[in-house]
């Protein structure tokens, strides 16, 4: 059988399951571990990716031998190195090609491994694999997957949440009149909205408890943000109204220590809201921030907002990460006029969809 592997929390369990299945099945026990490698030859962005992938495969091979006995044959291969992998479909294509070449029909997938993004609009890799005539077998792993799977597939919770929000908003606009007309039209509108958008609105697969904790921490975050906004607004007001307009605008590039869509969005918006700083571009974790005054720059380098956003999403333990200044992750973009507009941002093949 073929097992596509990549960095994931349940990789160890998937390996165990695959090995057990291979040993219990009829015939020669062979497991092929394939690691799709994406964009490894594109400039500085992914220089280390190839090495990392090979190290991952070595690790997987060691695990597989740990679990199996002497009969087990373990094959490891890096695939997709010669093509351009972007969405789940592309990953499925190279995996299917490999399976065809080796005459294999069965694929064991790790449910937590979702290469090429897990955007709900794109089909997950599993579906694409099954369509190519392979037997797709999902490794039974525990960890948060069970609940997550339920959400992603059925989307019942997402649907209900979106329906609730839309319905409440509708009733609010109607002033909570509570007439039959309001309730009926509200229900229809909310159903339409939820039916169309429940796969799009929430991309994170979250449990209710995580969501609740984040909400509580978010509530704690808002007053802090408001305080920051008021204080720095006064500072910017002083600068703007000052007769000599003492501004020293600079573009800053920083690699921020938050991960994922929502946290990045919250951080980028918070940075924009606190005066003196304005997020111009986001590429992955790399942000370009326009700063108006040296004081605003210092604040950004100290990374107070970044810490706060980490706290909202990951709780107290995440507070300890070093500031951008200590990590040496923030710098002023000093583009000289000559070098073709001084475009210093390295843009990945995914394009500028930040």
């Amino acid at each position: 059988m073929v097992v596509p592997v990549g960095e994931s929390v349940t990789l160890r369990q998937t390996v165990t399951y695959a090995v057990r299945e291979a040993l219990s099945g009829a015939g020669e026990p062979v497991v092929h571990f394939v690691a799709p490698v994406a964009w490894h030859d594109i400039g500085d962005v992914a220089a280390g990716v190839r090495e990392e992938t090979e190290m991952l495969l070595e690790r997987v091979a060691v695990w597989a031998r740990e679990d199996g006995d002497d009969d087990l044959v373990v094959e490891t291969t890096v695939i997709g190195a010669d093509t351009y992998l972007f969405g789940p479909d592309d990953y499925a294509r190279v995996i299917a090609t490999y399976a065809d070449d080796s005459g294999i029909e069965r694929v064991v997938v790790d449910p937590q491994y979702s290469p090429g993004g897990n955007v709900p609009i794109l089909r997950p890799m599993e579906a694409a694999l099954a369509e190519r005539g392979l037997v797709v077998d999902e490794a039974p792993v525990d960890r948060p997957t069970r609940r997550g799977r339920l959400l992603r597939r059925g989307g019942a919770l997402q649907f209900a949440t979106l329906f609730g929000i839309s319905f409440l908003f509708y009733q609010l606009l109607g002033g909570f009149a509570g007439t039959r007309f309001d309730v009926a039209t509200g229900a229809v509108s909310a159903t339409l909205v939820a039916a169309m958008l429940h796969r799009v609105t929430f991309t994170d697969r979250l449990g209710l408890r995580t969501l609740g904790r984040r909400l509580v921490r978010l509530v704690a975050y808002v007053p802090y943000l408001l305080y920051e906004i008021v204080v720095s607004n006064l500072r910017v007001a002083y600068v703007i109204l000052h007769p000599s307009l003492p501004i020293e605008p600079r573009m800053i590039e920083t690699e921020c220590a938050v991960w994922g869509g929502m946290p990045l969005t919250l951080l980028a918006n918070s940075i924009t809201l606190t005066p003196g700083t304005l997020t111009v571009r986001v590429h992955g974790r790399r942000m370009m921030v326009h700063t108006l005054t040296p004081a605003a720059r210092e604040g950004l380098f100290d990374g107070a907002l970044e810490r706060a956003v980490r706290f909202v999403f990951y709780g107290r333990p995440a507070l300890a990460v070093a500031t951008p200044r200590e990590r040496d992750d923030a710098r002023i973009v000093e583009d000289d006029d000559g070098a073709d507009g001084g475009e210093t941002v390295v843009s990945g093949p995914a394009g500028g969809d930040a």
Binding site: G175, I240, P249, S270, T272, L278, V280, M288, G341, E343
Partner: protein, 103 residues
């Protein structure tokens, strides 16, 4: 003429809101380039709008309509920076160079 504390608060918030909107207008007119102007559009303007809407909420008192005001504030606080980011990004993609005081 008697003035209640509520009225004082309302007028105070209104003054604050108008002041920050004034700063926004001055900034949008006076600052040297798009990026700097986008700063005021997203920040001082947001605070100005927030303060004024708080005043409105105070006037309305505890009613369901007040919830709409609160919603309005929340909405402005989310969309304004996002819009400013979109504008600044568009400017950056058009290769507009930021203004520097030493050039």
């Amino acid at each position: 003429m008697d003035v209640t504390p509520l009225e004082v608060a309302v007028v105070g918030f209104l003054l604050g809101g108008v002041f920050f909107t004034f700063v926004t207008a001055v900034g949008v007119i006076r600052l040297p380039d798009v990026y700097a102007r986008a700063h005021t559009a997203s920040q001082t303007d947001t605070l100005g709008a927030g303060l004024t809407l708080i005043a409105v909420a105070l006037v309305l008192g505890l009613e369901t309509t007040t919830v709409k005001t609160v919603l309005l504030v929340a909405f402005i606080f989310v969309t304004n920076p996002t819009a400013a980011h979109a504008i600044a990004r568009a400017a950056h993609e058009e290769d507009i160079e930021p203004w520097r005081e030493d050039r």
